[in-house]
């Protein structure tokens, strides 16, 4: 028998596999494809203070080994989340991690308070790294702002805080350090890599938003490197690793690099059942390699002898 459970702060996950924010809706969309109660947790789409309409279309285009997206954080806002999304998800025995996005520290604090009071989630993922909205990255490139934000949130909630980092920086360490010192319980990485695509025939950008965020298999080497670097710097801070995870083997690679949990994103678009296959794949790997605790994998990668 293998033990798949892992912890992120006080949050217990029955297995290390969660959904990547913005790729699994609010769970309801996927309930007729996936048994939600099998997931480690459902991480829902970024939620903001007011409803957001997001960017014009085209919003998603294919690129070699991945996709670019510029959704622009379309969501129904916190009221809609608490009145509609939460009650629906509560039908299932699965922890909810809500991904929060705002323009200011006040926005984030307001959202955290509302959700904490309403019991609208088991953990908060703080998205300071969306590349597709103005100011979306101010926090993610500035350790001082990151420290202020997470400190403020730490004061208003006891829910586990998971700070989601942007890969579009020279080094993630200063940002991660700020979040850790401010009391984040975990870190999630990576968000998407800023990119663009051009239609040579039309001589226009392919995305209405011009730039978008790159995700999918193509980003895996960069994501693995960043998870490994951050884990080395902060070995006691649990990491939710993501970026191109398509199957159980990819997930194991992220855990070996230092991730305590993993998130499945773009894979769900190609294979709606991907998140379940990743769980099964990890279990098969543990059995085949005679590993009893999934946590033994975390950071276990070594250099070639």
């Amino acid at each position: 028998m293998t033990n798949l459970s892992v912890n992120i702060g006080s949050l217990k996950l029955r297995n290390p596999v969660v959904t990547a924010s913005g790729t699994f809706g609010f769970g309801s969309e996927m309930a007729n494809v996936v048994d939600l109660s099998r997931l480690g947790a459902v991480v829902v789409k970024s939620t903001s203070r007011e409803p957001r309409l997001g960017n014009p279309t085209p919003r998603i285009v294919e690129t070699p080994g991945g996709i670019l997206n510029a959704i622009g954080l379309q969501n129904g806002g916190i009221d809609n989340y608490l009145t509609e999304k939460v009650p629906y998800l509560r039908q299932y025995d699965v922890p909810i991690i809500v991904n929060l996005v705002g323009y200011s520290v006040d926005d984030y604090v307001y959202l955290a308070e509302r959700i904490t009071q309403a019991g609208g989630a088991e953990a908060l993922e703080i998205n300071i790294s969306c590349p597709n909205v103005k100011h979306g990255c101010d926090f993610s490139v500035d350790p001082k702002l990151t420290f202020e934000l997470i400190s403020a949130l730490r004061k208003v909630t006891d829910l586990p805080l998971i700070t989601k980092l942007s890969p579009n920086v020279t080094s993630l360490i200063p940002i991660a350090q700020a979040a850790v010192e401010a009391g984040t319980d975990g870190l999630s990485l990576i968000n998407t890599l800023l990119g663009t695509a051009i239609d040579a025939k039309k001589r226009t950008f392919k995305l209405a938003n011009i730039t978008g965020g790159l995700s999918g298999p193509c980003v895996k080497p960069v994501a693995l490197r960043m998870v490994w670097q951050v884990h080395n710097a902060f070995p006691n801070t649990p990491i939710v690793g993501m970026g191109g995870i398509m199957n159980g083997t990819d997930a194991v690679e992220f855990m070996l690099a230092g991730a305590t949990a993993v998130a499945v994103g773009t894979a769900t678009f190609i294979n709606p059942n991907a998140v379940i296959e990743v769980i099964d794949g990890i279990e098969d790997y543990l059995t085949a390699s005679g590993t009893s605790e999934v946590s033994e994998l975390v950071g276990a990668v070594t250099a070639i002898a």
Binding site: M30, G54, R59, I71, Q74
Partner: protein
Amino acid sequence: MPVIQTLATVVENQELIKDHMVMICEAPEIARQAQPGHFINVNASTSITNILRKPFSVFHADPATGRIAMLYQLKGATTHGMSRKQPGDLVDIVGPLGGNVFTIDPRPNAHHIMVGGGYGVPPLVFLCERLRESGFAGDITFIVGARSKDLLLCEADLANLNVTVRPTTEDGSRGTLGRVTDALREIIDERSAVYTCGPTGMMKAVGEMSTAANVACQVSLEVPMPCGVGVCMGCVVNVQGASHVRACTEGPVFDARKVIWS
């Protein structure tokens, strides 16, 4: 309604007209559930530059045989990948997808008018089949448009359904010379119930003509659908009273009066 992901066995995969093929495969679960307007998400690309599934309307679905058919035009990586499948090969499909499909006008004396062009024709052929299976014996007219006669689709399928087929060709090589709207104009009246699928420009014109004639018209929109299951927000369209609704889950079929054509 559960969404099925399956490796379906290809039974038949043949060219219908130039650059258009029909693939028949075994997918009992999907065949049982599929209705006209539903689509199937196919993963058949072998190109590293196309990693997403692509949507294809259900052309036929037979719960008895457990088989479904898709009619596809050769365009890019997915459709070329589909074209290489031999009988016996497996094809990776997800379906049936679509939150809102064609709903049949219940009036017994209704005159059901299908207006289709290109690969918009197959879902409407499926709708005619289901109309007849439901016991409807009244009038069905199928206006099928194409540039010229060798591009007209599915006339054979319609022959057996006691459907009045009105081909229109832009070069007059067959049927009415001109656009589908030229044929629609001649027959649309208060008995009409219009269903349309095809090039966006065509659907817009058909929708506007129907609305002007105060006739209900259902349009099946075509927009890129990265996920097809409602989670990516990549397929959004604007409709009266609501911005950025998902075409995959609120549609693909919409009331023509509600659609805001961009």
